[in-house]
Amino acid sequence: MAIWSDTFLAKLAIDAEQQINQDLQAIYFRFCLATTTGTMVYTLPDYVRSVLRVTWRGRGLDPVSWEEMGLLTPATVFVGPGNPGNINTVTGVPLYYGLNPTNPYDIRIFPTPNESLSASGDNPWGPTVNGPACIISCWRTADTSFTDLTLTLPPYIDRRTRKAWILWKAYSAEGKGQNSAAAAYYEAKYKFLIDQFRAINEGCFVSKKYAIDDGTLSINNFRYPRPLMPPNFERVIF
């Protein structure tokens, strides 16, 4: 007789994918957000984990905090959809975006869009010049149905990492399969695999070269591309 039921293991398999998503941002995604003339706040799909960039007809919008948004437009307010207290006086081509305190997935675009754009207005992976779309780049959660392979972890890491997490949690669970030593073993293994994949995903193979100049000032300033610091350590040099 099996120690764990298939239902229990299937649930852990889904949880594992989501836990991996929490432990590292791995799935990059872009989509067109449908906008409506005169509507300033939109609710993003709940698969969005963090917003990386928003473009309006191809041009990037500047991210601002909610407080900065208040300073930019002190006389406007969004209380909730259809709320009579909403005040929206600035309409035009959007320049800024920020997350709104009405909902973790609410995004406010300012100035309020002056045109309606559809969710299929442009190709988010190859936008055209002045293409009619509001495109959002984000890290997203995995596809828990495992049908779209572009929305899951890559095959060289996925199975083993999920397996380690599932067994860690299964051996920790109450019942006849409980085994602390085994749980500790799989916990260590999971953390090791996550660290390794983080190194791959966050840029150890990106052949970036940092220099005081732009790399063209001296002829001997060249070196072959090699792994360097991941992009979250990026230095901006003006």
């Binding site: 990059y28 060289y156 030593a181 990026e234």
Partner: protein
């Protein structure tokens, strides 16, 4: 170079019981080990020719090149120049609408394990090809396939397999000890692949 059969024999000798684990168990472990070690150490380098697509900024490399792990370099074969690795923040400083800008591709950035973005992008079809140099995933092994791991680091694979086999047998204490050895071996291989291939050329602070 060692073959899968060599590694299998070596593990059987170590475990002192050639019949306890089936050949299938052994082969599955060896395949898993090679997959993981090659992915984490980047010890397989390959190149592929990918056509530029009109108006496409983001290339799904993992779909275009099934054994793709990470980009090393890209050569624009149309203008005979290397694409320079650069960050998206720099692209944005250059043009706020950089993703839609059409022009000669001179730069690229690796977005994730799957996507690479180029800047700028060709606006018309049949622009030409790029040569992508990349770290590759391990091949599917047969008994006589040469294992693409440097011979002096093959113990890394053996340690992985022994850990895996003990794990299957719920020998977690032994497995934990061997896992530590495997991790140490893997780190040595990573250091070797990343910075000890050409010790004659010293890194500088430039």
């Amino acid at each position: 170079m060692s073959t899968r059969l060599d590694v299998q024999n070596s593990i059987q000798l170590y475990l002192n019981n050639p019949a306890y684990y089936t050949t299938t168990d052994m082969n599955d472990s060896i395949q898993d080990g090679v997959d993981e070690i090659c992915a984490f150490s980047g010890c397989i380098w390959k190149s592929a020719t990918i056509p530029f697509v009109a108006n496409l900024s983001y290339y799904d490399m993992l779909t275009l090149i099934p054994d793709y792990i990470g980009v090393v370099a890209i050569f624009n074969n149309t203008i005979k120049r290397w694409l320079l690795p650069q960050s998206r923040r720099k692209f944005n400083q250059d043009r706020i609408d950089w993703e839609s800008a059409v022009g000669v591709p001179y730069y690229f950035d690796a977005v994730s394990h799957r996507y690479v973005v180029i800047y700028k992008k060709p606006g018309a079809a049949n622009y030409g090809d790029m040569f992508v140099f990349y770290r590759a995933a391990a091949p599917t092994l047969g008994d006589l396939t040469n294992i693409p791991i440097p011979e002096d680091h093959i113990t890394c694979l053996e340690n992985y397999c022994i850990t895996d086999l003990w794990e299957q047998n719920q020998e977690f204490t032994k497995g934990s000890d061997r896992l530590k050895e495997y991790i140490e071996d893997l780190q040595q291989l990573q250091v070797y692949m990343h910075s000890k291939r050409i010790p004659d050329r010293l890194p500088s602070l430039k």
